[in-house]
Amino acid sequence: MSRKKSEKKPINKIGRRRFLKVLAGVPVYAALGPVGIASGETRRYGKLVDTLRCIGCKRCMSACKRWNKLHVEREELLTDRNTDLSGNNFVVVNLRADRKNRAQRTYVHWTCQHCAKPACVGACPVTAITKLSRGPVVINESKCIGCRYCYQSCPYKVPRFDFEKRVSRKCTLCYDRIPLLDYMKPACVAACPVGALHYGLKEDIILEAKKRVERRKGPAYILGLEEAGGTDILTILPAKPENMGLVVAPKKVVNQDLDKIRITASGFMGASVLAGLMYGYGHLNKTDGSEQDQDKKGHEDDHE
C-alpha cells in the first residue's frame, strides 16, 4: 500500500496522491477555462474503443444513460437500431459496413473524441467548455448559453443541443466519477462485458491499441492518433473511417487560434480597403456643394 508502489500500479488504479491532485485540479481548471488545457504536469487519460471486439450489446449506452441521468427512448437500446448522438445520447453504438467490403460489418461505439486541442473550447463565447488537464473536455451546463457554436466548430459534430435544458450537451468522459474510488472508470468502460472499451493513461492506451492491431491478422486502422491533432479517444476500426461512414476530421489541429487571427486580419484588411474607397469616393465627389448650399444654413461645417 506504499505510495511508491501505487505509482507503478496498472493504469486503471490511480495513486491516491495523483487522485488528490486531480481532485484539487478539477475546480481550479474548470474556473480557469482554456488556460487549463493539458498542462504537462498531470498525466492524461484516454479511452480505447476496440470496435473489433464490440458485440453491439449497447450496455455502454445504457450505463451512460444511467450515470448521466439521460432519457431512454423506446427501442434505441435494441441491438440493431441505429441512433444518433443527441442531448440525450452521449454515446451511440451503430452497426456500420465497410464501403469497400460490404461483408465487413462492425459495431462502432461513437462519442466525443476529447480532442487534445479541442476546437469547441476555442469557439465557446462564454468559456463554458474546458479541457481538463486529465483529459476530459467538459461543458459546464450551467454556463452554456445554447448558441451551438461548439457544434459548428467541432470536427466531429458532437455537442448536441438538448431542447429541454436548452444547452449543448455531450460525453464528459465521466470526469465526475473520478472522485469515487469504486468508479474510477467511465460508466461505459465499466459496463462493457467483452473488454472492447479500455480506460487508462494516454501513452498506455496508444501502446495497447498498437498491440491489438498488430495481433490482428486483417487490416485495421487506429482513429485518433492524428485526427484533429490527436484525440484522447482512440478507436480501432477494421477500415478507414471514411469507408466506415464516419465523419472525417483533418489530420491537424482544427480551428487554431493563429488561423483565426489570420482570417480576421484579412477581414480587417477588407474593411480598411472599403473605408479607403469610401474616403476616396467622398473626396472625388465633393464638387456638389452648390445644390446643397441653401441647405447649409443650420450646420456650420468646420470639417473639409
Binding site: I145, G146, H283, K297
Partner: protein, 485 residues
C-alpha cells in the same frame, strides 16, 4: 461648493412640498377634463382612420403577424424549442440567417449614411435620418432574432462579461454590437434633434411634451432650475469651451459636427463588429464552405447591397404612400445610389462566380457547391440569389437611374433584398449539410413555426418603421427644415 451642496436639497424639498400642495386640490376637478381629452383623442383617432384607412389596415396586419409570432414563441416555451428546427443536425437556420441579414443591413445603412456625415459628401446627408433610424431598428431586431435562438439568452449577458473567451469570434461580436448600437442611436438623435424640437414647438399638449422630451429640449431650463448649473457651466467654460465644442443643451444651437464624431465611432465599431461577424463563420474549419478569409469580405459586399436597397426601397415607397414630392436633390441622389448599387451588384456577380468556380475545384467544398448548382438549393440559388437578387436588378437599376424613374429603382431594390435574404438562408443552411448528413435531408425548407417567428420579426421591423415614418423626422431634407409630419 459647500454652500451649493447645502442649498440644493432644501431647494428640491421646497419644490416638492410646493407641488404636492398644489396638486392635491387640483387633482379632483381635473378628472372630467381628462375624460374629455381621452374622448377627444379617440375621436381624432377615428377621424384619422377615416382619412387614411390604408395606414390602419397595414398596421393591424403587421400587429396580427406579430401576434402570430408571439404564439409560436409561447409554444416554443411551453413545449420545446424543437418546433423551430427542421433537423437536429442543422441547428442554425432561419433565425441565424435572418440575424446576419438584419445586422448586415444595419452596417450597410451605417456605411451609406457615413458617406454623408463622415466622408463629407453633402448630398448624402439627405438620407441620414432615414438611414440611421433603419440601421437602429434593424440591428436591434437582428440581435433579438439571435437572442431568441439562444437556449439561454439571459446567461449570455452575464457570462459574456464574467468569462470572456478572447479567441471566440462570437464573444467579440456580442461585445461589440452594444457600443455600435449606442453610437447609431446618438448619431440619429443628433441629426433629428432639431426637427424634434421644431415639431414640439408646433404642436401642443401631450404631443408637444413627448417631442420635447425626445429632443431633450428644455433640459437646460430644467437643469438650471434644479441644479446650480450656471455656476458649473461658467467654471467649465473657463476650462473647456463647451459652446465651441458644440455641446449645447439647446436643440437649436447644437452643433452637427458631433454627428461626425459619432458617425466615425459608429462606422469603426460597425466595421469591426461586422468583420468579426464574417469571421465567426470563416473561423469554423469544420465547415469547409464557411471556412476561409473570403467570407468577411463577402459580408461587406452584402452589407452594401442591403444598405442601398433598404434606403431606396423604403425611401421611395414612403414618399409615394405619403404622397410627398421628391425634391430634385433627392431624385439625383437616388439615381446615383441606384448606379452605385448596380456597380456593387456586378461586383457581386463576379464574386459569386469566383466563389462557386473556386469551390468546384476544392475537394472539401465541391459537394456543398453542388448543392447550390444542381441540388436541393438550386432553385433558391439560380432564381433568387442569381436572377432576382443579382443579375436582373442591374439593368433595371441602370435604366431607371438614367430615366430617373423611382418606381423602377424601388422594385429593383426590393428584388435585391429578397434575393439577399434567401442567399443568407442558403449560406447558413447549405454549409451545414456536409459532412454530417450524407444521405441528404428530407426537407431544406425551414420549419413553419420558425417562418412565423421570423415573419413576426420582419413585421416588427416594418411596424416600427411605419410608425417612425409617421411620427419621427426621417424625411430626406436638410435637418433644419420645419415640421416633419
Amino acid at each position: 461648493m459647500k454652500t451649493t451642496m447645502n442649498e440644493s436639497p432644501t431647494l428640491t424639498l421646497n419644490a416638492e412640498t410646493h407641488s404636492s400642495k398644489e396638486e392635491t386640490p387640483s387633482s379632483q376637478p381635473n378628472h372630467p377634463a381628462r375624460k374629455t381629452t381621452i374622448r377627444q383623442a379617440f375621436s381624432t383617432l377615428l377621424a384619422d382612420m377615416e382619412r387614411s384607412p390604408g395606414f390602419y389596415v397595414w398596421v393591424s396586419f403587421l400587429i396580427a403577424v406579430i401576434f402570430l409570432a408571439g404564439y409560436s414563441l409561447l409554444m416554443s416555451l411551453i413545449y420545446s424549442m424543437e418546433i423551430f428546427e427542421f433537423s437536429l443536425k442543422i441547428p442554425w437556420e432561419m433565425m441565424v440567417s435572418n440575424y446576419i441579414f438584419l445586422v448586415g443591413s444595419s452596417v450597410g445603412l451605417c456605411l451609406v449614411v457615413s458617406l454623408g456625415s463622415v466622408f463629407g459628401l453633402k448630398r448624402y446627408e439627405l438620407i441620414g435620418k432615414r438611414g440611421l433610424f433603419l440601421a437602429l431598428i434593424s440591428i436591434i431586431l437582428g440581435l433579438s432574432s439571435i437572442g431568441l435562438h439562444l437556449g439561454h439568452p439571459e446567461r449570455g449577458a452575464i457570462y459574456n462579461a464574467l468569462t470572456p473567451n478572447l479567441f471566440s469570434a462570437m464573444w467579440y461580436m456580442s461585445t461589440l454590437y452594444p457600443p455600435y448600437i449606442a453610437c447609431i442611436a446618438v448619431w440619429y438623435w443628433l441629426l433629428a434633434r432639431r426637427d424634434l424640437a421644431r415639431t414640439a414647438a408646433e404642436s401642443e399638449g401631450l404631443r408637444a411634451k413627448i417631442y420635447n422630451i425626445l429632443a431633450l429640449e428644455g433640459l437646460k431650463a430644467y437643469a438650471y432650475e434644479r441644479m446650480p448649473l450656471q455656476r458649473w457651466e461658467s467654471k467649465l467654460n473657463r476650462t473647456i469651451p463647451l459652446q465651441k465644442l458644440g455641446l449645447s443643451l439647446d436643440a437649436e444651437n447644437a452643433d452637427l459636427s458631433w454627428a461626425r464624431v459619432l458617425g466615425t465611432l459608429a462606422l469603426i465599431s460597425g466595421l469591426i463588429a461586422y468583420t468579426i461577424e464574417g469571421s465567426l463563420f470563416a473561423h469554423t474549419e469544420a465547415r469547409p464552405f464557411w471556412y476561409g478569409p473570403l467570407y468577411p469580405i463577402d459580408f461587406f459586399l452584402g452589407a452594401g447591397f442591403c444598405g442601398f436597397s433598404w434606403l431606396m426601397a423604403l425611401g421611395i415607397l414612403t414618399h409615394k404612400l405619403k404622397r410627398e414630392q421628391f425634391s430634385e436633390a433627392y431624385r439625383t441622389l437616388l439615381s446615383e445610389m441606384a448606379e452605385i448599387l448596380a456597380l456593387l451588384l456586378s461586383a457581386g456577380v463576379l464574386f459569386t462566380a469566383y466563389k462557386m468556380g473556386h469551390g468546384l475545384f476544392e475537394p472539401l467544398k465541391v459537394k456543398t457547391v453542388m448543392l447550390f448548382l444542381n441540388g436541393p438549393f438550386s432553385l433558391n440559388f439560380w432564381i433568387f440569389e442569381i436572377a432576382i437578387g443579382l443579375v436582373l436588378p442591374i439593368p433595371i437599376l441602370i435604366y431607371s437611374a438614367r430615366k430617373r424613374k423611382t418606381a423602377g429603382i424601388a422594385t429593383a431594390s426590393i428584388m435585391v433584398l429578397a434575393g439577399y435574404f434567401v442567399k443568407k438562408y442558403d449560406f447558413v443552411v447549405a454549409s451545414q449539410v456536409y459532412p454530417v448528413i450524407k444521405e441528404g435531408l428530407p426537407s431544406y425548407f425551414p420549419a413553419i413555426m420558425e417562418i412565423i417567428l421570423i415573419g413576426g420579426i420582419i413585421a416588427t421591423f416594418l411596424l416600427v418603421y411605419t410608425l417612425g415614418a409617421r411620427f419621427l423626422p426621417l424625411k430626406e431634407e436638410g435637418s433644419h427644415r420645419g415640421p416633419v409630419i
